[in-house]
């Protein structure tokens, strides 16, 4: 037919039952796993911790590296404050408390490092084994502060308590462009031991409450031939911390039930999950996975089990022997774009790993296992465990839903 002009109007009856595409499910069992441990690293945590937890976790200090560029407009750099026409009215380093009311009157001290380079710590690599208080002994004391809270304003908006350090007198150290070794790192630690853990918001919690340097300045300009200057309005500039990290020291506890896997960011327990049957499951060649639920059962009191868990495919092969003992670094390389995150609920957690399975089915990714850990929003002081042994209904299982021609 060369040309088809059609007018489509009404309906007829036909049997579509056996035609075209179908939906089916596959159950995959015999999922195995084991726990491995690295030094705890809270660089991606949304909170910064101080004090000692009842389980024995210690959080002695936190480090911050302030960004050179402001997040406020007009955008300024710390370097620009060298300009002699700008006068600093005040400069504060501010931390925002994670609770909406003050529960402690502890005093915190602020230190800076004028004589060191800008590589005192790494947000993603520093931990209690490679960075101790002894390594930071040359920190110069800046000042102390206690938590304070503003009264709610007329709009009845509650402000979080803050810890505010005056840094005006050392501000030149942050803006001095003549110093090739310029260092914008500061350290905060409690003046005395805290018997409880308190938390402040980190830069991962968003711009509004990120640790920040707040500078109030005004500019002077010459307006006539007499050389008189006038003062213009005071402007505030905010420079948030680009990197921040609280160091956590885990207690000497060992969890070693072989039927369980353990997870917790404070203990730095992570797990490797293996699905050996994945390579032999019989998915049709053109199957498109609609859902792939990987589910686990929590071993402890289900009322405490609401937490976020994440899973990522491992992209390099690694032997179990290489993951024994306390490792100094995490050797597993994962595919970050295929992360699956979900909230544990009622003692069970389900993760949709269909993208991983689909790409494995296409042959783009190998079945090297899955790395499992708690998400960065979860309290590091909890340790979670899941059944991994073959315990029938409580064993981990994978249900794959797919459609195929």
């Amino acid at each position: 037919m060369f040309i088809i002009l059609s007018c489509m109007e009404d309906t007829v009856t036909v049997d579509l039952m056996d035609d075209g595409m179908y939906h089916d499910t596959l159950y995959v069992r015999e999922i195995t796993g084991f726990t491995y441990q690295t030094p705890p690293q809270l660089g991606n945590s949304t909170l910064l911790y101080f004090g000692t937890d009842s389980n024995g976790f210690q959080n002695p200090f936190a480090l911050f590296r302030v960004s050179n560029t402001s997040i406020t407009t007009p955008v300024e750099t710390l370097d620009s404050f060298v300009d002699t026409t700008i006068e600093i009215d005040s400069a504060k380093f501010i931390l925002t408390f994670n609770e909406d009311s003050i529960t402690t009157d502890m005093i915190f001290d602020l230190f800076y490092f004028p004589d060191d380079g800008d590589s005192i710590f790494s947000e993603s690599k520093s931990n209690y084994l490679n960075l101790t208080e002894n390594d930071l002994f040359h920190g110069v004391f800046v000042g102390s502060s206690t938590l304070s809270q503003q009264e709610p304003d007329s709009l009845i908006t509650t402000s979080f308590p803050t810890l505010s350090f005056d840094i005006a007198h050392i501000f030149d150290a942050f803006s001095d462009t003549s110093n090739e070794n310029i260092n914008r790192t500061v350290m905060v630690k409690p003046q005395s031991n805290l018997t409880e853990v308190i938390a402040f918001k980190s830069s991962e919690s968003g711009f509004t409450f990120a640790p920040q340097v707040k500078v109030f300045s005004h500019e002077t300009t010459f307006v006539d031939s007499t050389g008189d200057s006038i003062v213009v309005d005071t402007i505030s500039h905010t420079f948030i911390s680009a990197d921040d990290l609280s160091i956590i020291i885990p207690p000497d506890i060992i969890y070693e039930n072989p039927n369980n896997i353990y997870l917790g960011s404070g203990m730095a327990y992570k797990a490797v999950l293996q699905i050996p049957n994945l390579d032999s499951i019989s998915l049709p060649q053109q199957a498109t996975i609609t859902k792939a639920d990987l589910s686990f059962y929590y071993t402890n009191d289900t009322s405490q089990s609401n937490f976020y868990l994440q899973i990522q495919p491992i992209i390099d092969s690694i032997s179990t022997a290489e993951l024994q003992g306390l490792l100094l670094d995490d050797p597993l390389i994962t595919e970050p774009s295929l992360i699956a995150v979900n909230l544990s609920s009622n003692g069970k957690i389900s993760l949709n790993i269909r993208e991983y399975l689909q790409l494995h089915h296409f042959g783009y990714i190998q079945n090297q296992g899955l790395k499992m850990e708690v998400a960065n929003t979860v309290s590091p002081f909890n340790t979670y465990s899941f059944f991994i042994g073959n315990l029938d209904s409580l064993a981990p299982k994978l249900i794959i839903h797919y459609v195929a021609p």
Binding site: M1, F2, I3, I4, L5, S6, C7, M8, E9, D10, T11, V12, T13, V14, D15, L16, M17, D18, D19, G20, M21, H23, T25, Q285, Q286, A287, T288, T290, D293, E355, Q358, L359, F362, G363, Y364, I365, I399, H401, V403, A404, P405
Partner: protein
């Protein structure tokens, strides 16, 4: 599962679609398959063994349409298209050649289920629904040759090169809780193959002064019809726009995420038509002829391989029979109505369908029966016997499920004649 169809009849979704029976208006007017002369006296546009008597070269174009009205299910579908393009060149009354273009089959359907299928999996309820859409068809490029065997016998040969493609989309809807997503599976078939059709005509016999013309033809496969089938990766239409784009899953872009290329399968010997036909044309008076034709078409493929583009059913055979009467226009009309051809007939066509995927795994046949009447007329005009034709079929179609379906076909054709291979006088 009860379903809905938009487009042509549901038969359009079977196999390669609706087969074309009457590509031009003259054939439609008598209700035949084109073997016996209906265009003009002793001339059929579809039978090259009748072209030797054509006085002029003809360029013929036909446009047709179909209306399908189902009173049982209260639907009324209409579609239309250009049906046939043909050029015929007689050479000194000894040979004739032709080249033409016409549809072999066509598809246009949209089948949507109004029934649902529920699945219960690990405490979840999945509600599944399905729709199937398709369009396309196979066309024929036809090369024809007619030749005189004796003064009263003629031969004809047709080579029909089949080509074309169709697309099919299966939409699989899965509803789970508040989530309602379509999973779309696209397929494409590209067809090619060649049929050969031999014709024989004779007017050696007669009843006294009444001439009797007999014709027969046999059609078979010269180069088996091959289907290049492309099966595309099904995708989740995440943004619900019906197209495969970056918002869908699996993502069609990005490193190591693009679905594998479509699976290309070559299916040989998928359609293997064999047809034989014979008929007569009896001159009752100088202008009035009675005609009859019988043809039997069957698909000789092994039927073990499913056609991958249709529904479960496919047409595997049909028989056509028609009787009709034509009053041809007079060669040199004396009054106005002698420039008209009038055609009328009745016909019956019985289809045999093979259900390829019945629930018990056995092929099950069912039959469709067409009973129709046809009328038509043609107007001859001009020195070169130009002609405008109109044909109409009214068909009652019945099958195992439905007995009250009315199919109306119409066709309009225009044929322009010209004189070739003649030395024209130079105008002074």
């Amino acid at each position: 599962m009860t379903s809905l169809c938009y487009g042509q009849d549901v038969y359009s979704a079977y196999g390669v679609g609706e087969l074309t029976f009457a590509p031009n208006a003259a054939v439609m007017g008598i209700g035949s398959s084109g073997l016996m002369p209906s265009f003009q006296e002793n001339i059929s546009l579809s039978n090259p063994s009748t072209w030797l008597g054509i006085p002029f070269a003809y360029l013929s174009v036909n446009y047709g349409g179909t209306q399908i009205k189902d009173r049982d299910y209260d639907y009324n579908n209409v579609f239309s298209g250009l049906n046939q393009f043909q050029f015929i060149l007689p050479i000194k009354g000894v040979y004739a050649v032709g080249i033409g273009f016409q549809p072999f089959s066509s598809q246009l359907y949209s089948l949507g289920s109004d029934d649902i299928y529920e699945k219960f999996i690990e405490g979840d309820t999945l509600i599944i629904n399905k729709a199937i859409n398709g369009s396309g068809g196979i066309s024929e490029l036809i090369f024809s040759l007619g030749a005189k065997l004796t003064e009263k016998e003629q031969l004809g040969l047709k080579l029909e090169y089949l080509f074309g493609s169709n697309r099919r989309q299966t939409v699989f809807n899965i509803e789970e809780g508040e989530h309602d997503l379509d999973y779309i599976y696209n397929q494409r078939n590209i067809y090619n193959g060649t049929l050969i059709n031999g014709y024989f005509s004779s007017h050696r016999l007669g009843f006294g002064s009444r001439k009797l013309r007999l014709s027969g033809s046999v059609k078979t496969v010269l180069h088996s019809v091959r289907i290049n089938h492309f099966s595309f990766q099904p995708f989740e239409d995440s943004n619900g726009n019906g197209f495969y784009d970056v918002a869908d899953y699996p993502r069609p872009s990005g490193v190591d995420s693009i679905p594998p290329a479509a699976i290309d399968t070559i299916l040989s010997n998928q359609i293997s038509p064999f047809e034989y036909a014979f008929g007569f044309d009896l001159e009752l008076t100088e202008m009035i002829h009675a005609q009859g034709e019988f043809s039997s078409w069957s698909d000789l493929t092994d039927r073990e391989t499913n056609l991958t583009s249709g529904l479960n059913q496919r047409v595997v055979a049909y028989q056509h029979f028609n009787m009709g009467i034509i009053r041809f226009a007079r060669t040199l009309p004396r009054i106005w109505h002698e420039s008209f051809h009038f055609r009328a007939g009745i016909f019956q066509r019985a289809y045999e369908l093979d259900n390829q995927l019945s629930s018990n795994g056995q092929a099950e046949d069912y039959k469709i029966n067409d009973l129709g009447i046809s009328i038509g007329f043609g107007i001859k005009f001009g020195v070169t016997k130009n002609q405008i034709d109109f044909g109409l079929n009214l068909i009652n179609r019945s099958d195992s499920y439905n007995s009250d379906k009315l199919v109306t076909n119409f066709n309009i054709g225009i044929s322009i004649g010209d004189l070739w291979f003649v030395k024209r006088r130079v105008k002074k």
